[in-house]
């Protein structure tokens, strides 16, 4: 079937050039990461590992990685719990104002990032005087903001997962006298376990990469990894960011290749 849609030479050329265009800046980072200079430049003759060593030697990079992991895991756990409860309720109760409730749950994803950033900034500014945990420029403040930003994606994934669950299995469990709790933990949750796992993973990755909101709600204390990269790009471009980017590119490429190989082996079976 696909033979009839085989792209012609013009489409192939534009498409292939676009693919090269997408990969080009990622490849360009590699030589820059080996420059011996302290500013963005290309190594001339001499290649140096100093920027990779800086990642290891300067404690602030490691601290930022740990902080981003801590925030990412906490925000992902919170977002997954909130989204799972919400989607279960939505699926089982089919509330009358469903459209409105879903709209509220998805709003942070639909609103432009800069508006969400301003909103969460004003929220944290407002509650900072009232407590000592969830504060502006504090790690729990970042967790709350990230949870707001990633929870819509978790909701979408879990809604899709639940839409594929056959309602009859829940009905038969109910008619055999299962109470609400048994229906949830023995019937529905096992059926959406992959959805829950994907919601958790996506929430974590989105929080790990989040910069738009983080830039508004942190200043000197809660410096996440993207925030530190931003600082290394904003004024004087720091080649340490190149070294870090190379490591991240290698990580992402390995995960994606691993998935491709895994999918291929699944098909072969």
């Amino acid at each position: 079937m696909t033979v009839s849609l085989k792209p012609g030479p013009v489409t192939t050329a534009i498409g292939a050039l676009t693919a090269v265009f997408l990969l080009m800046p990622l490849l360009a980072v590699i030589p820059v990461s080996f420059t011996p200079k302290r500013y963005l430049s290309l190594p001339k003759g001499e290649w140096s590992l100093r920027h990779y060593e800086a990642l290891w030697d300067k404690p602030e990079w490691g601290d930022s990685v740990l902080l981003s992991l801590q925030i990412g895991v906490t925000a992902a756990v919170l977002a997954t719990l909130l989204a799972t409860a919400f989607c279960l309720g939505f699926w089982m109760l089919r509330p009358k104002a469903g459209g409105l409730l879903a709209g509220i749950a998805l709003l942070p994803m639909l609103a432009p990032p800069v508006v969400s950033a301003l909103t969460l900034y004003s929220f944290l500014q407002a509650i900072t005087p009232w407590n000592s945990w969830v504060v502006y420029d504090g790690w729990l403040g970042v967790v709350v903001a990230h949870t707001v930003m990633v929870v819509p994606y978790a909701v979408v994934i879990l809604m899709v997962a639940l839409s594929q669950v056959d309602r009859k299995i829940d009905l038969s469990a109910r008619s055999m006298g299962a109470n609400l709790w048994t229906r949830i933990h023995a019937v529905i949750l096992p059926n959406i376990r992959f959805g829950i796992l994907s919601a958790f993973m996506l929430s974590f990755i989105l929080s790990w990469d989040e910069i738009g909101v983080t830039l508004f709600i942190t200043s000197v204390k809660a410096i996440t990894l993207p925030r530190r990269m931003w600082m290394g790009l904003r004024d004087n471009v720091d080649p340490t960011v190149a070294a870090l980017s190379v490591l991240l590119i290698v990580l992402v490429t390995l995960v994606i290749l691993g998935r491709l190989v895994w999918e291929h082996s699944q098909k072969a079976e």
């Binding site: 849609l5 498409g15 990969l23 980017s245």
Partner: protein
């Protein structure tokens, strides 16, 4: 009772941390520094702000057009290319998509800055003597935004192309239509919903964007979202920032309503 335990936590959380402060900002756009529409008249009347709005529309429309055309060719190749080509294209879509926007922007800085790859190379072969200014202008911003948004355009296009009934294409070929005619008169119209969806998605995303324009524009081609950032952290003007937020919110709301109307229309 179960309603309270399931639906309520998320709604309470978002209500408190998001809806109330958002409403507060919308309110502040007409009450800061005093009650009235002065922030809106400034946003639409001040020639500086107005030039930022015009530039934002110009950049976002160019980015949308370029990104959708390139994504269309890319998606065709991803779905129907040769086997090796499909793997290559999939990697070219997925690796940047999952990579931090900061690493991707750093890549553009490495390529385009004065001591970057392109200028170093052009100088070494003697084509130019002074480095070309490739960033800190609109060109750099458009390049970086197109790069960021192509993967987002690919997904709606791919879902529309997968739904095309290939028998129609076979029938057209059987009746002697040329390749060009099949593409423009059959394939493109049949994927129209995907094209419109991709264009709206890219346009809406690009409007609220400020990371890439800030880093690649270098303060010389400020867009609305970056102006909001500057009006909070550099020359504070909370009322104007709130009014600009309300305007972006409103225009994106209008586009989303158009998108929903459109999908409802195609489903009927």
């Amino acid at each position: 009772m179960s309603r309270l335990f399931t639906l309520a936590p998320l709604m309470l959380f978002l209500g408190l941390a998001y809806l109330i402060p958002l409403a507060g900002i919308m309110l502040q756009s007409v009450t800061t520094p005093e009650f009235g529409m002065q922030n809106y008249s400034q946003a639409l009347g001040d020639p500086l702000v107005w030039s930022v709005i015009r530039r934002t529309l110009r950049i976002c429309l160019s980015v949308t057009a370029i990104a959708v055309v390139l994504a269309y060719a890319l998606t065709l190749l991803w779905l129907n290319g040769s086997r090796g080509m499909r793997v290559f294209v999939e990697l070219a879509i997925m690796i940047p998509f999952w990579l931090s926007v900061l690493s991707r922007t750093f890549g553009w800085l490495s390529l385009l800055s004065n001591r970057g790859l392109i200028n170093t190379w052009l100088q070494s072969i003697g084509v130019i003597s002074e480095p070309l200014t490739l960033i800190r202008n609109e060109f750099g911003v458009i390049l970086g935004m197109v790069h960021f948004l192509i993967p987002f355009a690919v997904f709606p296009l791919a879902s529309a192309m997968r739904d095309v009934d290939t028998r129609v294409v076979l029938a057209a070929r059987g009746m002697g239509a040329s390749r060009l005619r099949i593409f423009w008169q059959i394939f493109v119209p049949m994927t129209k919903s995907g094209i419109i969806g991709a264009a709206l998605l890219v346009f809406v995303f690009s409007l609220g964007f400020y990371i890439v324009p800030t880093l690649l524009g270098g303060g010389r081609s400020v867009m609305v979202a970056e102006l909001i950032y500057l009006r909070i952290f550099q020359i504070p003007n909370w009322g104007l920032a709130a009014a600009l937020s309300a305007l972006i919110m409103l225009s994106i709301g209008a586009f989303l309503v158009a998108l929903i109307k459109r999908t409802e229309g195609t489903m009927k």
